[in-house]
Amino acid sequence: MAFVDLRAVSLTYRLGKDTTHALADATLSIERGEFVAVVGPSGCGKSTIMKLVTGLLPPSGGEIHVRGARVERPIKGVGMAFQNPTLMPWRTTLDNILLPMEVVEPHKRRFRSHRAEYEARAMKLLQTVGLTDFAKRYPWQLSGGMQQRSNLCRALIHEPELLMLDEPFGALDAFTREELWGVMQALWLEKRFTTVLVTHDLREAVYLADTVHVMSRRPGRIVLTRKIDLPRPRTLASTFEPRFVDIVHELRERIHQEHAA
């Protein structure tokens, strides 16, 4: 069985008499160490998949397995980053990044006695995203791009087996976004954590992912699975190469069909 395995997963929200079919029959599997992107028209239930995989929402039908075990409650130790950085304004950037260490076993027990060691680890991570000088600043003293970098660091500090990214670069300007693709790729190449990236930016999906899953309109199903066999590390220059552009066009074509249907 794959590291993450979704079989015929569906989700129906009920609000009073209204029922919304957010997800119908989603089937996909993710190998350990794979970088997967999920793209699709807006409102197709991309974010719902993230919540289902991490167990934050129970599915209405089908089965979800992670590490071979069925997901029935929130699974532990997952790294998560959203479009909104959700950093805590009362903590410095460094303390924000150390948050998972205070919660995730086995770090939780060692945190107080080995604080210096963990701080060094956080500083190393901050260095790779170019934020060394901002460790003691508060999140609201940072720019949007810096906040999002810190957010990534917080999702990665405990070296999660599973990283869930929900449009983490969505609110950033184009230059910062493309720069962070590079940062993200470098971090992934070093540690190879299993990653699920939800995005509506097709270039972002093709740049970062090994496999791109295209979802249909609501209720969402997986309608196309595309392996991205471009060599790594990919650069901004590679986004202008014909092969890259062709893949983006192919994905865009499929999503257009969804909009037209």
Partner: protein, 259 residues
Amino acid sequence: MSADLRREILRLAMPWIAVAVLLGLWELACTAFDLPEILLPRPSKVFIVFVQRFDILIEFCLQTLWTTVIGFLLAIAGGLLLGLAIGASPFVYSGLYPLLIAFNAVPKVALVPILMIWVGVGATPAVVTAFVISFFPIVVNVATGLATIEPEMRDVLRSLGASNAEILTKVGIPRAMPYLFASLKVAITLAFIGSVISETVGGNRGIGFLMLSAGARNDTPTTFAGLFAIAIMGVAMYALCALVEKRMTRWAFRGQIVS
């Protein structure tokens, strides 16, 4: 002197100017309409009485101050605990919220005679009245602070494997702090109202009792001196709460720190 500095000085002077203008108009009106002192004493007369009877005023003021502060501290402790419980648990919320609103709707002045039957006259009814009147805004604010945690923040912590208790201590309580401190400014002024009401309705101590007995002797200037004393204490305690608020939750005033 630079324009910025002048603006800053003017900004700091404005409250004093406003008070001076108000008192000046009052003084003028009393003289112009020749109002008898028993109806409305001139501020200058009130000030003279204030100075002459300063020793008595300060004695009664201190009695009121400490009953108010004790009631207020109890309200912080109780309000914080209940606010956290209500904000953290939907069950506690649905169970207690209607009750709290009903309780808050009861005029506290109606409680004082009952309290006096239970505990007699003295400091206790004033402390209890200050407590019950300043309790409500603290509970509501703390609960609001907890209830408005961003869902994403909660999701990040839950997917890390945090327990509900951890979510409460890592996010809930720090986030509720600015709400708590904001409510303290409201609560302290309410606490003064509570203790003075109690002293006025039936007490044998405190500034409320002093004003009541002065009123009974038609000594209107002393009554007004008492009013002024309450106002001064109220402003002082408010300022203290505002200072504590700024110290404790600097991050909530982010704009002012960056500049």
